[in-house]
Assembly symmetry: D2
Homo-oligomer: 344 residues x 4
């Protein structure tokens, strides 16, 4: 049994990791940490987990974590991850980091959007944890930077088009819509029920930190440096992201060309389902690691309109993290991730 | 492997049965039927199930069903169940019926609330499928009448109090609140999003068909014929039922008496979790077979206030049906029902 | 024009007062105060009010308030109201208090549920601001204790039955369900969107402070001291309260007796609408001062089941406060409150 | 008093017209028609309107309508409007049509997206009812084609940019998100609560009928024929539309240029509020005729990102219709539309 631990286990992504690990045949959760909740039982913070987990939150101590676990999931805010991860690696643990700290190839980009990176040398070995793009590297990695939720949906939506050079990547626009769990479990007026319910809004327009991440991966696929317009919005729902991605197709590209590109690119993708007849809804992927993708070619304007849906907590965070763990540790990719999405 | 089939598989309870059976280690879904959707793939009606089920809806044919399956779940409207079930039994299949048709001991009660019963002789052998009350009978049954959703929550809430003779059962009042999936997937103005969203209402006040079912089971526990006031309400949420049950306690009964009664009654209940400190919310049992119960003794009025929460599709229907199947077929009771509830 | 002011104007009840006063033909809002937001424009805190109100929050200063306004609405937490109101009265202003501080006849009751009352002598002259019960006293009052939201719905639901001696008042049970704006605009995990959305729960079972208020008014109508079981619940909606009230009717009471009692009691009630055919939903009273009431006599158990719906911010707070102001100042009772509820 | 009537008054836009007309100082609602509900009281279909409207639905009879009313609102499906409106005009009534039938200048465009137009000659005199663009023509019109909801938000968002030639209009993309009341009150699986709640989806991608309407008005402003990519989405909320509009700005255009363009274009717009600091949310315009617009210049990509919010039933339909009526009949533009939006 692989021994795993979660640092920063008290938020929604922490909960989701515990929920999924509870049914993983080869991984056993040995330790959870939280500064704020140390000494408390997890099932006191999340009564849903009674009879499923009787762990108690401990002080975040990298040495103990690395001793107790073969692999550690770090579900910490950015910077806190940078502080802890080097010691985890030193202690011999593999790490899947759910923060932004190890997603970037270029420390300068991280610095432009966040702050100076404390361990830029580790960025070289860290692998961006999107299996459809970097499966082999993930297999050999000891440190995986788990992708952000929005970027997961946008990159998967656009990748075949960009890699297949079927569109002009400089025309890429990503209009994303997310449920509120993406904001985390912290309290603020922004997530007050009455400020969200029955309403809709855009936020961080032109300034969301997921922008450079989207650009990094799509640039790698395009073979040129791209700037993408990315606009996030808040939907009055708990889980889910739908990204609508626009790109002007190259002259002469047909719907069949696009079909072929998606089917080819995702031929072996266990967790991508292509939708031809009906556009996907976020309700069809909840609690799962699926990214469902549909698309249309708007011939009147020559633009492709791509629709990708994920569950922001599962494929957008914890499910993808466990998928990466499976790849890193030699388990079948979908181990512990085989449950069908729930409806309604 | 136990071969199972679902008659009437296109509604929400049908979906929930498929979702849960997908991960059941000892049962294999062989056949699904639906008059309306015959010829269609299930994963066309529910895209969530792509890569999880490739069955096609067939015509409801009891002979074929009994030939293809060892156990059939009938998720049909009342009366349609009565029409089909005798033939399923004749064909040698075991049956777990999700309708009201085989829940009652007394055909006269069924007739008073529904219509004349077509096979009253079968009522004698049918077992009311609430494991906490009738586990042994379920074990030996070939026909189980799966309980209604509201009754499951109300009966489990009140049972220890009534069985322990700690309250006057003639003062029982059940005020229940349910999510909209309990109404089924049929279309009507009542379930139009705009008629439900952001609002709350009571319905079928004093006339809901779950009343006699609640009375039957609590009367058996009380040892006397009871009439219960039951009021259902509609909550703008998809899944969940919370029942608030009131009863005047017998003079001298203390909180410790009540605690002891609940702990004792549910000592071996795999799927009941007692809540002492915090009252349970429907969010902590979603997608699971749990019934979480909390209570308070209102000393100012001498009334016990019991709060029980379930997921109406899981414990209130399909999860409980699979639990009954497990008991009938000799599997561990929680086989295929071991997933933690999801949050948020 | 009557000059009015709002102390504590930054919460939802404050917003609702501003929204309604904006269209009041005889009242003009002159001043708003808020400790936290002083110096800020109201329409910065609530962009909805741009072009409707250009007031700036000022420091809460009772002398200034009483100088600027003929009538002051105090929308402050309990105790803060007690601190300020004597000075407002001294300054010559009339006061409608939205807190609990001046709702009680008996300081001892206030002390048992809140804390020692600072100005018990004022309790004698304060009038409980439920017009259907105390219209004449309100007319002559200079200090009105505006009722709590839950109590408004429960008292109006039960009053005709209790006053008409048609039920045994010792059997009264109030099961209430409220939208989240009743919790106010303060931030906490309890009102985090993801902790509320798509779920339902009970809270403060047997201990909610609205209990003594309900008991006070129903006791006055019954002519005897009553204890009532009151259970509040949280609904995933923004506005609205539905209270389901149970009482065992006196032997021999018929549905016609109950009809007659309600029609008679509310004959002149501008803001009560009786529902006979269909039970009311919270969606039919939003933004209005209406309390819609329906009922059924459950003959099987001899209990009356009463359903009352209100908008917790309007009839449950600010709309009722303006209605009280109208009565106190000699305006038609429905002045500024004539808009139809909105749907959906 | 202007006598008005509503043909097709039983849907949500019909309700909204009644609600707003109820408080209009110069208009009196004399007659409402509905094929399906004829003979029924309006306040039976919408209990919210009890004590506000005691009209009974009548058979849709153009002669009677034109006799009873000076101005008729036609809230009918497309085609039904075309059938009735010529007779209304003949009868001397003015008409504000809420369908698509009289929005188009070019019958060929209407035919391409709907069906052959029955009265193309009337298209010449019909005026597109967007006051910010066509106020003077509306003033002199006897037939106004009230704009669609999505187009209202998109056109108002983009107009200053397009008219001011600050962007390349061929790069226009409109990504719109709407609440469910936009789908109307008809029943279908699409609007079943459980199919919408807690989820998000795109629909009619590249094929929505509002596309040609958006293109018509923006082409007029641009002075060239445009094709626009328009993608609608469904939000789990009752009211509201937020449109995110993208356009590549002309080289050299600065944020100050854009500011100046919006402030100038909407200088006299009673119902447009420009948001500089905070992007607008749909919650700040509910029940009102406001269109709130915010924007950002994404300098990294040279794109303007425009955010416009409206209430789809008010500014997107009935509020705008009443505004048009005010203009046509010489009332102040905001007559009967002066209520502040409600929150929460």
């Amino acid at each position: 049994m692989l021994r795993v631990a979660i640092a920063g286990a008290s938020g929604y992504t922490g909960f989701e990791l515990v929920r999924l690990l509870d049914r993983h045949p080869h991984a056993e959760l040995k330790m959870i940490t939280s500064r704020v909740h140390r000494g408390q039982r997890l099932d006191k913070v999340y009564p849903a987990l009674r009879k499923h987990c009787d762990l108690v939150f401990e002080e975040p101590d990298p040495e103990r974590l690395a001793a107790e676990a073969d692999l550690v999931f770090t579900a910490l805010p950015h910077r806190a991850a940078m502080d802890m991860i080097p010691d985890l690696l030193k202690g011999g643990a593999k790490v899947v980091d759910l923060s932004a700290d190890y997603r970037f190839l270029d420390a300068a980009v991280y610095e432009a959007w966040y702050e100076p990176h404390k361990t830029p040398e580790l960025l070289k070995e860290a692998v961006y944890g999107l299996p459809e793009l970097h499966r082999e590297e993930i297999r050999n990695a000891r440190l995986v930077g788990n992708p952000g939720c929005y970027p997961t949906s946008v990159i998967l939506a656009a990748a075949p088009l960009v890699a297949g050079k079927l569109a002009d990547p400089r025309t890429l626009i990503a209009d994303s819509k997310s449920g509120v769990s993406g904001a985390g479990r912290g309290v603020s007026l922004t997530v007050h029920f009455c400020e969200v319910n029955d309403g809709f809004k855009a936020y961080k327009v032109g300034e969301h930190r997921h922008t450079p991440e989207i650009e990094q991966e799509l640039s790698r696929l395009a073979g040129e440096k791209l700037a993408v317009t990315f606009t996030p919005h808040l939907v009055p729902m708990s889980r889910g992201i739908l990204s609508t991605v626009y790109a002007t197709v190259i002259q002469g590209v047909t719907p069949e060309d696009i079909s072929a590109a998606y089917e080819s690119f995702y031929r072996n993708a266990r967790f991508v389902r292509l939708c031809r007849a009906e556009m996907p809804t976020t309700l069809q992927v909840r609690g799962s690691n699926y990214c469902d993708i549909g698309w249309r070619l708007d011939s009147r304007t020559g633009r492709a309109v791509l629709i990708a849906v994920i569950d922001n907590l599962t494929r957008g965070a914890s499910g993808q993290a466990i998928c990466n763990m499976n790849i890193m540790c030699g388990f079948p990719e979908d181990c512990g991730l085989q449950d069908a999405p729930w409806q309604p």
